[in-house]
């Protein structure tokens, strides 16, 4: 006959203290900078702690380890789903502090229920883990680590996201958020900030030319290596008329070819006549 496995009895209060300490550490960990260490510390705790506390507070005995363990992460997720609704209902924002404190409250409440409930003396932790179980746990852990590392590495080595070439050309700074046609003084120089990104996979020389009301301005040449970005301004002098002038900023690869991209926006001329016309709804 096999000797009975050695066991360590944990009193109810001890179990409750362990849970409360875990909850406290979870709350403290949310103050750590957001990095891998915090994720590794917090994520397993966050997935297990609330479910564990609820499982302790429930009546009856869980005889089978597999379902008892399997249901714990789901109970934790159930807690987060319901507690978020409760927090929202009382007007509290869902953020690290409020979530961590709600976990603390749950753990304290469940711990109290567990401690105060009659008829259950505590829990026994078996120390007599068999060599087979140790081997299995080691194998499972090794497999999990290997699986994660190999999957992430394989995804990096064998990239599977097609990268069709393209060029990105856009208005920049406050000009990218224009709500209505900007006012410009006649004869004044208009400097429009633009940004350019070369995602073609090869170095390209771009020509940027402003065209205001059909009149071409001076061309700016920009050389960009593959993957490089550029930001700068393109200038042109505003005309007196018409009152609304369309500014087109053309992007081409050479003077001989048609523009590959273009940006366009309306400008309003700040003359008395134009402002009066605009006031009349013209």
């Amino acid at each position: 006959m096999m000797p009975p496995p050695r066991s360590t009895r944990l009193e109810k209060v001890d179990v409750a203290v362990v849970l409360l300490v875990a909850a406290g550490l979870l709350t403290l960990a949310t103050a750590l900078p957001a990095d891998v260490i915090r994720t590794v510390l917090v994520l397993p705790t966050a997935l297990l702690l609330p479910g564990c506390a609820v499982a302790l507070a429930l009546p009856g005995q869980a005889r089978d380890p597999i379902p008892s363990m399997g249901v714990i992460p789901l109970l934790s997720l159930a807690f987060y789903a319901f507690s978020s609704l409760v927090l929202s209902a009382v007007g509290i924002r869902l953020q690290a502090t409020s979530v961590a404190l709600s976990v603390d409250v749950l753990v304290a409440a469940c711990g109290a229920i567990f401690v105060l409930r009659r008829g259950e003396p505590g829990i026994a932790l078996r120390s007599g883990f068999g060599a087979r179980a140790v081997a299995l746990i080691a194998l499972g852990a090794a497999a999990a680590v290997a699986l994660t590392l190999v999957t992430v590495s394989a995804a990096r080595v064998f990239t599977a996201t097609p990268q069709p070439p393209y060029t990105e050309f856009a208005l920049a700074r406050q000009w990218s958020q224009v709500e209505r046609a900007p006012l410009v003084a006649p004869g004044a120089r208009v400097d429009v900030p633009v940004s350019l990104a070369n995602r073609t996979g090869q170095p390209v020389t771009y020509l940027i030319t402003p065209v205001l009301a059909g009149v071409r301005g001076s061309t700016r040449r920009v050389q960009l290596a593959a993957g490089a970005q550029w930001a700068g301004t393109i200038g042109i002098r505003a005309h007196d008329l018409p009152c609304r002038q369309r500014l087109v900023i053309e992007l081409a690869r050479s003077r001989a070819t048609r523009p590959m991209e273009e940006l366009a926006l309306e400008l309003r001329t700040r003359t008395r006549r134009c402002l009066l016309a605009a006031g009349r709804g013209g």
Binding site: G60, D64, S84, F129, A133, G281
Partner: protein
């Protein structure tokens, strides 16, 4: 055991192998206390090697597909080689008799993780699938605003089922990790929990952990598991909740003579059922149906006092979950009816028309580039599933092994519903809805097939039976995978307007990111149907949902200025931005709302359809459209609707002023 056996104590019992029924089982359990045998160590090494080699092969198949045309089928062959490298040895382990439950469970978890790898490798950096983009956006909005029920574009129903989104947002807040990393880890965990749940359910019903392992493996072969259920969407959490609720009922049934423990599992079942109600509409309705079936079957067989107590418990859970689902529907998510009903109605209507020969059936695998062996397997999989299910059902109904419990009876009904849903695949309207039910109905097939397979392994010469089971599993695996999702979703590849997923290009993502960085979140935008989810997630923009009352497609499809009513609606709703994706065909379906009539996707007209480049050329000249952003295939305009309105009716505008 004299001590309290709470869940922590149960963890401590891990080292003690479960004692299988019978003397042989006890002998094995005693032997199992020793070190692993040489065979076990060899097999474990083989499994681990297969797992790692399988992953590398899968990754290579995706990389190969990304650089080659769809017609080149090499990536399919590589993919199946990768799957075979691990799933073959894994199934061989699960069909073995003398294996400890713990090692079986390790293999089941490995199968779950391995089945998540194809989805992960599809794009390991961003959400990619249509629904996944929208669910991820909902999490982003909850994290940003601190409250659930954030308005969701494109699929508005998402906001009313915040279970997964709030739980994920809470974990994002606690960990401080990137949202996508938390989502990926969570989905992998839920994937594993799903198969553990099936294992617990089948093992609880039959008392055999070999049936548990086989049922989990069979469930992993269902058409939705590897890809659809691996994306971040509300089903990802709802499916394990569904399975674990049923599993909790089984545990309650096992504890029928221990009232405290029975009550414990019933409370857990109710709690998980309620979470399911918060999480997903269809899952909660299917769960309610399943629970009611269980309760009805329990009442029908309730003769003794113990049976009546069990029936009362099942009714309590069924009523609690069904009432919660009804209350949630009435109080929060009444728009679910308008969302689900068209799919169901269109499916039934088209099926009737099909039977009456008023319309032709949808051609399966039309324009598909999958290999012929996948097509044959796809047609062969349902008969094999039927045969395996019938074998299991026959054993239960005629031989009474295992005993017909209420949950087993409900699972037989679920399996029958799977086969009843198959004709809907031939209809355009019912196809999508039918597929969405398989994650639940296949649970019945998995358990029944595992019971049948276990019986075969026990009776026939085990090596022949194992070969037969592995051959059947291979057909199910290949066929269900082929039937589950089209080649565009399964593999990366060149741009194609035949599928929304192939239009999610780095260029489109960059445009969304530019909009967010320069114009803040929640900008209302007009976009085509395929680009909308990407712009919604990467730009945190709010794409319009076109309808007959809000026909935004006219801006793209008609060269005339918008009508006064459309202009008024656009102005009052502040739809100031318009995206043109020049690669999208200039065809109405791409600018209309998706729905039952459009399912399963957009039929691209034969021949060369004009592209939306014509829209860019037109808008480039419009004085009320300012082009803020341009890339090789995209153009983003800000619409000066105020000036257009003044131009359209200058007198009225002046009078108002």
């Amino acid at each position: 055991m004299t001590q309290t056996a709470t869940s922590l104590a149960a963890v401590a019992d891990w080292s003690e192998p479960r004692i299988a029924a019978g003397r042989a089982g006890r002998a094995r359990a005693v032997a199992a206390r020793g070190l692993p045998s040489f065979t076990e160590v060899t097999f474990a090494a083989l499994l681990l090697a297969g797992l790692l080699a399988g992953i590398v092969t899968l990754a290579y198949s995706y990389s190969y597909a990304a650089g080659h045309a769809d017609a080149d089928q090499t990536h399919f062959h590589l993919f199946w080689l990768g799957e075979l490298l691990f799933l073959g040895p894994a199934l061989l382990w699960l069909v073995r008799d003398r294996v400890s439950p713990a090692s079986r469970l390790v293999v089941v978890v490995a199968v779950a993780c391995f089945d998540y790898v194809p989805k992960y490798l599809r794009d390991p950096s961003f959400p990619l699938f249509h629904d996944e983009l929208l669910h991820s956006r909902e999490v982003t909005e909850i994290v940003a605003n601190g409250h659930p029920f954030q308005p969701s574009p494109v699929v508005g129903i998402i906001q009313f089922f915040p279970g997964l989104h709030t739980a994920t947002a809470a974990l994002v807040e606690l960990t401080g990790a990137s949202q996508f990393a938390v989502q990926s880890l969570l989905v992998a965990t839920l994937h594993a929990l799903t198969l553990i749940g099936v294992f617990v359910l089948a093992e609880g019903l039959t008392g055999s952990h070999r049936v548990g392992g086989l049922a989990a493996f069979a469930y992993a072969l269902n058409p939705s598991f590897a890809l659809f259920d691996s994306m971040f969407a509300y089903e990802t959490l709802a499916v394990p909740l569904f399975i674990w609720t049923v599993a909790a009922l089984v545990k309650a049934h096992q504890a029928v003579e221990r009232p405290q423990e029975r009550r414990r599992w019933l409370v857990i079942a109710a709690a998980l059922g309620w979470t399911c109600v918060l999480t997903h509409h269809l899952s909660s309705y299917e769960l309610s149906l399943t629970l009611i079936l269980c309760a009805v079957f329990a009442s029908l067989r309730a003769r003794s006092g113990v049976d009546r107590a069990e029936a009362r418990g099942l009714w309590a859970v069924a009523i609690a979950v069904t009432a919660a689902a009804a209350a949630w529907f009435l109080a929060v998510a009444s728009s679910t009816f308008g969302y689900l009903a068209p799919h169901l109605a269109a499916g039934i209507h088209q099926l009737v028309a099909l039977i009456l020969r008023e319309q032709s059936a949808r051609v399966l695998f039309q324009a598909s580039t999958i290999p012929s062996y996948e097509r044959y397997a796809a047609f062969g999989a349902p008969p094999i599933a039927l045969a395996a299910s019938l074998a299991g059902a026959t054993l239960i109904l005629w031989r009474g092994r295992p005993k017909l419990s209420p949950v087993v009876a409900a699972l037989i009904v679920l399996a029958a519903l799977y086969f009843a849903s198959l004709p809907l695949i031939s209809t355009a309207g019912g196809n999508e809805g039918a597929r969405r039910t398989w994650a639940y109905t296949y649970l019945g097939i998995a358990v029944l097939a595992a019971i049948g397979a276990n019986s075969l392994l026990s009776r026939a010469r085990s090596s022949i039976a194992a070969v037969a089971i592995m051959a059947a599993a291979a057909v199910l695996c290949v066929g269900n995978f082929g039937a589950g999702m089209n080649q565009y979703y399964r593999f990366p590849g060149p741009y194609s307007s035949r599928s929304d997923i192939r239009t999610v290009t780095p260029e489109l993502r960059a445009a969304g990111a530019w909009l967010l960085s320069t114009n803040r979140a929640d900008r209302n935008i007009l976009a085509d149907r395929y680009s909308a989810p990407t712009v919604a997630y990467f730009g945190r923009a709010f794409p319009a949902t076109p309808s007959a009352a809000f026909p935004t497609w006219r801006l793209y499809l008609s060269s005339r200025p918008p009508t006064s009513s459309l202009l008024y609606d656009l102005r009052t709703s502040r739809y100031d931005y318009l995206l043109v994706n020049e690669q999208i065909p200039l065809v109405p379906a791409f600018y209309h709302t998706g729905g039952a009539s459009a399912a399963p996707g957009i039929q691209v007209p034969k021949g060369a359809a004009p592209t939306s480049a014509a829209v860019t050329r037109r808008f480039d000249r419009l004085p009320w459209a300012e082009k803020l952003y341009a890339s090789t295939h995209l153009a983003l305009y800000r619409l000066d609707l105020g000036s257009l309105a003044r131009k359209a009716s200058p007198r009225r505008t002046r009078r108002r002023r």
